[in-house]
Symmetry: C2
Subunit: 333 residues, 2 copies
């Protein structure tokens, strides 16, 4: 007894109808007489027939599978998006092939190509540094692509984000209004547009509005890890920063713990605001104030958008911006 030996043909024979008819009842096609529908259904039940999705995919050119490219599921930010994606994918009868890219351009290209060879019906991409080579690969395919929590400066692809510029600007303004003259900006790689072009822009705008000159000594480009954060305290002190706007929660947690370990009191001596509002913000002490993002929803909306694209439905706005908020907790005064 092999894997799955009962085919549509067996059902057809047993029910004395054609394969076409079996296919119709399996697919809920209306044009089949109730009596024969029942007959076929009974045989399907009796034989325990399960349609082979691969054969179906070949014949119909639809796999009901979408590819999801994510830097690292182990990062709670992305895990939350992924969960939102999977939930609405399931809702629409799709499955997701999940791949970790480590934000590595070469891996991203490889993974994209294997996803395409597997004939996924659509792709959701997360990752913020889109190299020219990757962009070229994107352009080669007709398969719909949407970005989740990732910007597209060239305004080609559908994407869902929050307004990073405005959010950072607002938070940095608050920091300045509270008397901080030297606010550090601690971020992931500046090559990533989300940091280098958007968040940094918000930071600069806030400074400008407040009449504070931009000082690049206050900008700390990191690799977004907790560990790196824990090591940053001396450098931050060295430039006399009294607050930091941080672009990643784990990184921010690292900074905060580094401060505490060096007996710098948060928020009294140093204020910290983070950006992703993962559950980490609540678990850490003091709890971290954060820009709030609807993480799950970003994924969910991205997937919903993708279903529209896959079904050739019109989408009114390619650049969807979900509302953000500002959550004051205990790492700010």
């Amino acid at each position: 007894m092999d894997k799955q030996t009962i085919t549509i043909y067996d059902v057809a024979r047993e029910a004395s109808v054609s394969m076409a008819t079996v296919s119709r009842v399996v697919n809920g096609n209306a044009n089949v007489k109730p009596a024969t529908r029942k007959k076929v259904l009974d045989v399907i039940e009796k034989l325990d027939y399960r349609p082979n999705a691969v054969a179906r995919g070949l014949a119909s050119k639809k796999t009901t599978t979408v590819g999801v490219i994510v830097p690292d599921v182990t990062n709670m930010y992305f895990a939350s998006l992924a969960r939102g994606i999977d939930d609405v994918a399931t809702m629409y009868k799709y499955n997701i092939i999940l791949t970790n890219s480590d934000s590595n351009g070469e891996k991203e290209i490889n993974v994209l190509n294997t996803l395409l060879s597997k004939q996924v019906d659509g792709i959701i991409f997360m990752g913020n540094e889109i190299t020219d080579k990757l962009r070229d690969e994107f352009k080669r395919t007709k398969t719909p692509i949407v970005f989740a929590g990732s910007v597209d400066e060239e305004n080609i692809y559908a994407r869902v984000n929050i307004d990073y510029v405005a959010a950072v600007q607002e938070e940095v303004k608050n920091l300045i209004d509270r008397g901080n003259k030297r606010v550090a900006f601690v971020c992931g790689p500046l090559e990533q547009a989300i940091n280098g072009k958007y968040r940094l822009k918000g930071y600069k705008q806030a400074l400008k509005s407040a009449g504070i000159p931009y000082d690049d000594k206050l900008v700390f480009e990191t690799d977004d890890t907790y560990k790196t954060g824990t090591l940053l305290q001396p450098a931050l002190m060295a430039v006399n920063a009294t607050a930091a706007m941080v672009t990643d929660d784990e990184l921010a947690a690292g900074i905060m713990n580094g401060m505490s370990d060096a007996d710098v009191k948060v928020p009294d001596d140093f204020e910290i605001i983070t950006s992703n509002d993962t559950k980490l913000t609540e678990m850490v002490r003091p709890k971290m104030s954060s820009i709030t993002q609807p993480l799950y929803d970003i994924g969910a909306v991205a997937m919903r958008l993708l279903t529209k694209l896959m079904h050739n439905e019109p989408v009114d706005e390619k650049n969807v911006l979900l509302p953000y908020g500002l959550m004051k907790r205990e790492s700010t005064k």
Copy 2:
């Protein structure tokens, strides 16, 4: 111009060879003359031919895709396993279809069936309560299945875990040796064998060795969430517990923060040990002492095991136990 219109047939024609030969070079079959191999390769390059994995799957009955059933990727424990799985899957040229089950029996069955209909070559299952119905579904298929971080009491399926009984026993013994007479056991659902049969057993054994009678008032069955943990302080105090062995890191973090918020000092007034050693343990203050588990490796080894099963290679031991450790941090004396 559609999705991907260049087929193996086009390549064959252009290179004036048969489809069979093209198939051979694509699959690296040795039996093809170097000259014609080069000719074919050139045409492939020129036409930018990409094999259609779906057609390939239908013809070969191998999809190079495995299904992964996980309670929730958003939980760092499972995210880490998933990462390990994906990395070795990639290494062996497999992709993973990732599905969240919320540990819901019905969802697990649905998801299993759609994975099977998609003809995955293997399945990795995470989740600890295996209902009879689910077990029946498992039995219906010849597709190899391995459990990751999940026990199989019936000893049917390959699985990779740590020795939960021994680990818990050891840690609880330490707690007792340090003078704690009343050690609470705070766990997820006891229906889950990993809690109800393994960890609880370790807890009981430790008590017994120390000559302490088992008191079920000290056993707290929860839903494994952070939030629930934060609410547990009063109940724990009410039964005069002075320490707790906790089965989930987020849950433990909740308990610890709940204690701190109620001015119960950890570890001086209350000791806490957790079980999964996710990076959360280091981020929280005080840092949590934990049983250490090689999370990534559990996933990686499970996937490696699955490749063996899929290739019909012999596996020496179906029940693989990876080494655990005990990491003292700051939540214990």
